[in-house]
């Protein structure tokens, strides 16, 4: 179980619903380990500021996470977390392993636009 303060995606169906019903979505798929926790922390911090983006996590070892593990965009990824950015249900960016706040915000700004009050 991921005990973060983010909203969790538990099933493939929920994943499909989330990415199709929201314009901008960031999903971090990982475990409770040293490479993943910093990314969850950054997402928790950005949730209020980036109100035009929905932030979720999903447990890497959940069999339902095949919806992320089998994406063509993650081919060659050999480090968790797999972090996926969706626009209107389509993958626009994917990263492997730990990321810094600057790396995450630069992707969010480029793919989804800066926060309105920035």
């Amino acid at each position: 179980m991921l005990y973060t303060n983010l909203n969790h995606i538990e099933t493939a169906g929920q994943h499909a619903k989330v990415i199709n019903e929201n314009e901008n979505v960031m999903v971090c798929c990982g475990r409770m380990g040293p490479m993943c926790i910093p990314v969850y922390g950054i997402m928790e911090d950005l949730e209020d500021e980036y109100s035009h983006v929905k932030f979720f996590d999903m447990e890497f070892d959940n069999p339902e996470a095949h919806v992320i593990r089998n994406l063509p965009e993650v081919r060659g990824f050999m480090g968790i977390p797999f972090t996926i950015y969706y626009k209107n249900g389509k993958v626009v960016k994917a990263t492997s392993s730990i990321q810094t706040r600057d790396q995450v915000t630069s992707i969010l700004n480029q793919e989804f636009g800066q926060p309105v009050n920035a």
Binding site: Y3, M32, G33, P34, M35, I37, P38, D45, M78, R101
Partner: protein, 321 residues
Amino acid sequence: MEMSNHYDAIVIGGGPAGLTAGIYLSRARVRTLILNEGAVGGQMVLTHEIANYPGVESINGYQLANVMKKQAKTFGCDIQSNISIQTLNLEGEIKQVTLTSGKTYTANAVILTPGGRSRTLGVPGEAQFKGRGISYCATCDGDFFTDKEIIVVGGGNSALEEAVSLTKYASKITIVHQFDHFQAFEHAVEEAKANPKIGFIMESKVTAFYGNEKLDAVDITNLKTGRVERFNTDGVFIFIGYVPNTDFLKGKIELNQWGEMVVNADMETNVKGVFGAGDSIAKKYRQVTTAVGEATVAALAASNYIHQLKTEKNKLVIEAN
């Protein structure tokens, strides 16, 4: 300057040391701000299980960090995480910190608790293949390398112990180490040497990483002969120790040859009103308990310093009147 940007104390770093300082200071009604670059909790949140924190039988580092954070906040401590410091002025009675966001904060005292991080090799291709064949965490990424041939870089306890743990997954492991002997405990060396899946390349360094979508090969340079050989591999795990996060303090306070902060028994640095605690000070043992203990001393000493400063100021005002 708006008054709300002035604090009695600013703590730089929000690991166990910084959070402890926040708890003690705020509880003593010292107006305190913690500024933390990463996720609150520091290296502690990277720990799956902490079984040696007295009073708690066993706890996940993330949960312990959340409890400490909540405690600090309950006493009125302000915490900002995932920030980045642009400039820091520790001279004089009023210390000043400016963040890359443009916000500036001032304080009478500063406690420095920036901790440490894993050392990276800093060679070409390392950033490009992080997460695409290069890893710094065996428990996180080991299973991606099932039945693969990999390299472990390093010669300390972490390198040898993690190499043995990676034999659960990998078909072959080559340990690359820069010296002709290991720094690890003898039992860890023996266990690695006895494992048929583990081989060794000594007195050598990994000097470059190559691949396309993922890592395919590395250059290994023999440090005695200078000969460089291309070595095909599916993955590289790097365990070459820790470095203190004190680059931003160079030229501002006294650091030793390893970049560790030099402090006295009251955790004071050589700059008045500036204190240090935790993994980034010059010391031998780095644990949550030691960080928490030193931060307690630093907070109490800082509290005393701030009290004295205020008392002296009040005396001067009274005398002037």
